[in-house]
């Protein structure tokens, strides 16, 4: 369908700012990334790092005011999303780009039946009649593994458990066979056992339907087995960008290293303290002049507090926003070598 080197979404220098009482918050400040067809991209970061805002910007779902996309390009399958009229954006939303949200408890409308909420998508985008839409909704519920879908389709959201609701959300998102699925922390609000099921479902559906996926999470464990590429975000910036295997093996950003160290390891020795990155994420409304991570960084030097770090290319697909990216990378490679030995 597209001849743009198989690229489905490319975001270039995206800046989304919010006007608040404390001044302008640069929630997303110059983000760039590219997603190929059928690929899965992970976006990782702490809360407030701008990962959700990035994807709401892609869907043009930023409430304006207080938010505004101030700069950058968002190109979806050759279409300039920023240049579209809101009516044309609506034709893409839910049909070609679909979204799953964090909290399935609040993301479904409590006042409407599941069937109503599912049917309105396919009636809108696929021109289904009421009957067709109902059959389609039922099919989707079965696809996402809702047991006894025939009798549950006319239930209300509160009659479903959290995991089942997230399945309904996924059914809704996939009902028009979208080219891109954005899953914004799809498992955060769920129990651990359910988390695995939902991730497995997304992975399975993606493979069957050939959908490209952006998976947003604060949990590195979630993206590990799911994605080809990962972006690590901090304070509205991309801190590191790499292929998943490379990022886990040889991170080139002190922040990523910190995140990796703070993932609990099942083999973790009892009584040994879990690692955590010291301090709190910075106040995005009042960022310091230098590196926003400087105050929390283990290898901070004067230059970090003085100058904003460069975006250093390490290998073909590996970039890191750090004054000492190469040094950190070398460190990781050495550690890796020691570990393998």
């Amino acid at each position: 369908m597209s001849d743009h080197n198989g690229t489905i979404l490319s975001v270039n220098n995206l800046k989304t700012y919010f006007q608040t009482e404390d001044g302008i918050v640069k929630a997303v400040d110059g983000i760039s990334f590219e997603l190929k067809k059928g690929e899965t991209l992970g976006i990782v970061g702490e809360s407030g790092s701008g990962k959700s805002v990035t994807n709401l910007s892609v869907m043009r779902l930023i409430q304006e005011p207080p938010g505004k996309i101030v700069d950058g390009d968002i190109v979806f399958d050759g279409i300039d999303i920023r240049g579209l009229s809101i009516d044309d954006v609506r034709k893409i939303r839910g049909k070609r780009i679909a979204m799953i949200f964090q909290d399935p408890m609040t993301s479904l409308n409590p006042f409407l039946k599941i069937s109503t909420q599912l049917m309105e998508v396919s009636r809108l985008h696929l021109g289904h009649t009421k009957k067709e839409a109902y059959v389609h909704a039922l099919k989707m519920l079965k696809t996402v593994g809702i047991p006894d879908a025939e009798s549950r389709i006319d239930n209300y959201p509160h009659e479903f458990s959290g995991g089942m609701r997230q399945r309904v959300m996924i059914a809704m998102a996939l009902s028009c066979d979208p080219e891109l699925l954005i899953a914004d922390e799809p498992t955060t609000a769920l129990d651990v056992t359910i988390q695995a099921q939902i991730l497995e479902l997304i992975k399975d559906l993606k493979e069957r339907m050939g959908t490209s996926v952006i998976l947003i999470t604060h949990d590195l464990g979630v993206v590990a087995g799911m994605t080809e590429k990962i972006i690590v975000m901090y304070a509205g910036k991309v801190f590191e960008q790499a292929l998943t295997t490379e990022l886990f093996a040889t991170p080139a950003s002190p922040y990523t290293k910190g995140l990796l160290r703070s993932v609990p390891d099942p083999a973790h020795e009892q009584g040994k303290e879990l690692y955590q990155i010291p301090g709190l994420p910075p106040d995005v409304a009042h960022l310091p002049a230098g590196c926003p991570f400087a105050e929390r960084c283990y290898r901070v030097e004067d230059i970090c507090r003085r100058e904003f770090p460069p975006f250093v290319q390490i290998t073909q697909d590996h970039h890191s926003l750090c004054h000492f990216a190469k040094e950190v990378y070398a460190e990781s490679v050495a550690e890796r070598a020691a570990l393998v030995k």
Partner: protein
């Protein structure tokens, strides 16, 4: 559901009895009685009348009589309007108040809901601030000022509407507007707040992410949750409108129930006061029950056990 309604209906009886009891105590607490405020009657005649109303009996027998009357829904004869039963008086004056109250509430719903929804949609726009300022004005101008001002402008200056009295539809316009102003303001503010709350919720974001247009998002997804505060306001508001029309009745010379009630209280016309209080409290409780039932239609999460 059925047993819920039945139970709630049954509770109304003891609640109404308690309300009337408290009212009776209040009337008896106040010094003086109907006869001390009327012109002095010869003692023999007064004793005679008291006997007729059972006022010569000890207080507990009188109280028992009152309770019995309530259960029979027969409140006896008014002291002031002799020869007329309380039920007749209520039946004669209620239609005026009820017509005005109902029309006023419908008007308030129509204007208040649309103003509130538009204000929420265009939050912080000129329309939003303007309509909310007008609503605030509605809450700040006493209706005994608003009514005569409307009369002055539309009846005495422009001669387009009749200034007072009961009659055709034209006679109803000014009193209904006067009566509905404050309710209109309340509903507009409640609607706006409710809609804003809902429009910020996650499921509205989901609806937008589906590609629905704003009209569908608003009418299909947001409206139900947004107007719940208005629904809970409706019960007490309707009850208040049926009885609380006294100012409008005075301004426009309409023989409604509100004025009758105030006069009855001032005259210590005990049967009439008790009758109207019992009638209104039952009405309030029925309205509240209706509101609770309609919640169930609006919000599927509510279950009646």
């Amino acid at each position: 559901m059925f047993s819920f309604i039945l139970r709630r209906l049954l509770i109304i009886v003891p609640m109404a009895l308690l309300v009337v009891t408290l009212t009776w105590v209040l009337i008896r607490l106040a010094p003086g009685n109907f006869y001390s405020s009327e012109k002095k009657l010869p003692p023999a005649i007064e004793a005679n009348i008291k006997k007729r109303y059972g006022l010569d009996k000890p207080w507990y027998q009188q109280y028992g009589l009152v309770m019995l009357n309530i259960v029979k829904l027969d409140f006896g004869e008014s002291l002031k309007y002799q020869g007329q039963t309380v039920n007749e008086i209520i039946g004669r004056h209620l239609p005026y108040s009820a017509t005005m109250g109902l029309l006023a509430y419908l008007l308030a719903l129509a204007v208040g809901l649309s103003a509130g929804i538009f204000a929420a949609l265009r939050q912080n726009s000129l329309w939003d601030h303007g309509s909310m300022a007008i609503a605030m004005l509605g809450l700040s101008v006493p209706n005994f000022v608003l009514g005569p001002t409307l009369v002055l402008v539309f009846a005495l200056d422009l001669y387009i509407l009749p200034p007072a009295r009961w009659g055709g539809i034209a006679n109803l316009i000014l009193p209904v507007i006067t009566l509905s102003a404050i309710y209109c303001a309340y509903i507009a503010r409640l609607t706006r707040a409710g809609m804003l709350e809902v429009l910020r919720s996650d499921y509205i974001r989901t609806a937008r992410a589906k590609g629905l247009d704003e009209k569908t998002v608003l009418l299909k997804h947001a409206l139900r949750g947004g107007i719940i505060p208005v629904v809970s306001f409706t019960g007490p508001a309707l009850a208040g409108l049926l009885a609380g029309t006294v100012v409008v009745e005075r301004v426009f010379s309409i023989p409604g129930l509100g004025n009758i009630f105030i006069q009855a209280v001032l005259n210590r016309d005990e049967p009439l006061v008790l009758g109207i209080v019992a009638f209104l409290s039952i009405l309030i409780m029925i309205f509240n029950l209706a509101v609770d039932i309609s919640y169930g239609f609006l919000d599927p999460r509510i279950r009646y056990e």
